[in-house]
Symmetry: C2
Subunit: 483 residues, 2 copies
């Protein structure tokens, strides 16, 4: 059973979804108003809205301003969701992952390529003009125009803003709880250096962001990849079992809109994980840099929201929402703060001064929330468009994730496909995808790919998806294994 359906909003959503699938609700038809459903089912407004947002994310319904929600024209076929992953039964080969990652990164350097492989939002969506102004202001206001060292802990105004925003998700941080880092990668790197040492073992979701895997291996850590559901994230039972057996010294989770799977750990699971691992004194490193890009009603909670014992190390950045090139990230290390400050001091002294000041002023101005609202709308629409395109032209048996936020789709092709091979073929058409094999140290996910929908959507993109579909179909025909 899908763990997600135990939530009230999911029950409501699943019910409506069934009615749409069975044509009880027809394409173009107006859905009952939120108010009506509230009354009828005796539930809160926010639960119904959550259900509608969820269905919107799944591509079943669409909202029209001031008119309400309508059933969408469903694509000719709807793809199933990926099954829960079962990693760890294959041999590990970190070098394959390495080489693949390097190869994919090389494709980024040409403007000619259509980059479904890049994990950042398109530059058209960034508030460049405004940030530019904040940067000039920072040059004027900082002593020495930003040539001097910022403190090790980082710009206090920026830390204050991050702390303020944490109220939205019950983080309740103060400026003193936070260290500014050079992007989220430094936050993760410092976290690992602070709580584990070479030879130790960490648990992660699977598939998972390759940077995390590579970083861990680079620090001489062993990694156990856990079974993960494309909707509800890591399998809590597997994680607890590892903890019980004393096999892991830390756990590293992308808890919201996981890269690449799009999964979000339900609040109840977050609480359970946080409390259980705290009892076992196993630090939770929470990579939470996508949470602000939700398609639903509210920003989802984080493990840190339930962190009574300061055992969760919460990491974030503006790289996925505001300015990747600024390299502004942060970490709230809980009880590991002092040790991490030391690692920060000796591994990088402090982060670049100017960008911290510019981002601080941008956040203080209140423009960030405004910007995020727009960006979320664009990404949500893009998500539906890419889902529709893939549904239309990818081969029979393809499965696809239905993320509730972020900008990535996880596509599972039938077993006969090899996306590492397909990568080279697609690059001949100047289309770059991220093969599934990048997101694991094991020999698996060869039939999967991650597609980003962070770019500005246009007909070229749409055609590129069709090209992928056509090449997949040709590829399938040549594969005897598939017949």
């Amino acid at each position: 059973m899908d763990a997600g359906s135990t939530y009230l909003y999911r029950q409501i959503a699943d019910n409506i979804e069934r009615k749409i699938e069975s044509k009880d609700f027809r394409a173009g038809e107006k859905l009952p108003s939120v108010r009506n459903i509230c009354r009828e089912l005796g539930v809160s407004m926010s639960t119904v809205l959550e259900a509608y947002y969820y269905l919107e994310g799944r591509g079943y319904i669409t909202s029209r301003p001031k008119s309400g929600y309508f059933v969408r024209q469903l694509p000719a076929k709807r793809l199933a969701r990926p099954e829960i992953s079962t990693p760890g039964v294959y041999g590990e080969d970190a070098d394959v992952t390495n080489m693949l990652v390097q190869k994919i990164y090389r494709s980024f350097h040409s403007d000619e390529n259509i980059l479904f492989s890049v994990g950042v939002p398109g530059k058209e969506f960034l508030p460049v003009a405004r940030l530019d102004k904040e940067m000039v202001r920072a040059l004027r206001s900082l002593p020495g125009s930003g040539t001097l060292y910022e403190s090790v802990q980082g710009n206090v105004r920026l830390r204050r803003q991050i702390a303020l925003q944490s109220i939205n998700w019950n983080g309740n941080l103060t400026a003193d709880d936070i260290i500014i880092t050079t992007g989220c990668m430094e936050a993760l790197s410092l976290s690992l250096m602070t709580v584990v040492k070479a030879g130790d073992c960490i648990a992660t979701e699977s598939p998972v962001y390759f940077g995390l895997l590579q970083l861990a291996r680079g620090l001489g850590l062993n990694v156990i990849e856990l079974p993960t559901d494309a909707q509800t994230g890591v399998c809590v039972r597997s994680l607890m079992k590892l903890a019980d057996e004393g096999k892991i010294q830390a756990c590293c989770l992308i808890s919201n809109f996981n890269n690449p799977l799009g999964s979000s750990i339900p609040a109840v699971n977050k609480r359970e994980i946080t409390e259980y691992l705290s009892q076992k004194n196993i630090p939770v490193i929470e990579d939470d840099l996508y949470a602000d890009l939700f398609f639903g009603l509210n920003r989802p909670l984080s493990c840190k929201s339930f962190d009574k014992n300061s055992n969760v190390i919460w990491c974030g950045s503006v790289s996925k929402t505001l300015a990747p090139g600024y390299r502004v990230g942060w970490v709230a290390p809980g009880k590991y703060l002092e040790r991490m400050m030391h690692h920060k001091l000796v591994s990088s002294v402090s982060s670049a001064t100017l960008q911290q000041e510019a981002v601080a002023t941008f956040l203080e101005s209140g423009r960030y929330e405004n910007h995020l609202r727009k960006l979320r709308g664009i990404l949500h629409t893009n998500c539906m468009k890419l889902t529709d395109s893939v549904s239309c032209c990818f081969p029979e048996g393809t499965r696809i994730s239905a993320p509730g936020g972020g900008f990535m789709l996880w596509v599972e092709l039938p077993d006969c496909f090899n996306t590492t091979e397909l990568y080279d073929i697609l690059m001949e058409h100047k289309i770059s995808i991220a093969p599934g094999r990048m997101f694991t140290l094991q020999n698996q996910y060869e039939n999967c790919m991650r597609l980003s929908f962070g770019m500005e959507w246009n007909e070229t993109i749409n055609q590129a998806v069709k090209v992928i579909g056509r090449i997949l179909t040709q590829y399938e025909k040549t594969m005897t294994r598939c017949q």
Copy 2:
């Protein structure tokens, strides 16, 4: 015997030094012209100039524009130089070093403190207005105003400039040989992560920059601290012996104007070290971020200058010369380039975009050399002033380094002094020094301190040195061990 005196310029300098000490040359007297000495001794102009620069650095002579060199008024007493260090015979205690470093860093946050402990040049000496302009220009010219990721390897124009400058010291690098990093600390961190793993052992000079020690310990490395001469740097024989015995997997040297000792490894030793360790396949990590701050005629050579087998990993930055807060550093990893690129990608993606562009334009404009020339003059003068002040008012038996560049003096007090204790006493007078114990993992150098002369010199600074002198004298009287 002092290894340095085997060089021709040192023989000339030592000869003149003896004549000044014996009053054969009297204060205020004009020294023979460079041309005359050349003729008389049959040596090259640059050898004589090197000797004069060396004597100027030692405070014996001073140059007057268009008039030549003159004997300075010597201070009432001249201090001896520190003896060669003999580390490694005491117990290791990394925690003591840790805590001390953290304590000293806290003193940086108050503008009220006189910071002899800070290892950066004063902000008055940075070309702030010009960098400000370059930054605004970078905002205008970069796509997305610097909000987008720079490539993993870094800004190609900046790499080209660094490569161009390497011709000055026979580095002969190309833009492709270089990776841009977030300050020199990231360069060191990537270097260690690339060539050694937890449990491995590295050799360093002793005393040595605490950041290097802490970083190494943080990565689970063992550190062997080598005997080091305050003029000529690491003891080559000790280093070779370790290499022969297979006890080290890498060697990490601050080859020019070492922090904190001020030592510079003579070219002939650099060549010997480079060739020998290359034969043994032991990578040399060369932290070379002070080399541009020479007081002499030319920039000294680096180990990288002799690196025929691409075994030297050469690290630098603009943090000590241009803009600490920009966090712009670099590394030329030789044959380890590809592996290091991978570590760079997974540990930080790329460095901040804007500062790379601004520094690139600044270097292209040719203003860097001009700026350095001014900065070197100021630092050389400050070095002499601080040496004179310390010589005048520190207790009998004090020894002091005579660096040929950089901005730090190493002061060795008689054995009864404990500079870790003295730190707290001096902080009551709002004077911050760097106690010797910071620069080692062993229980040693408690009678030493590092004093920076990077700040703008004024009467307050001069008075502060006198306060230190007075407190040292009082402290000495209360110490029964000294009696």
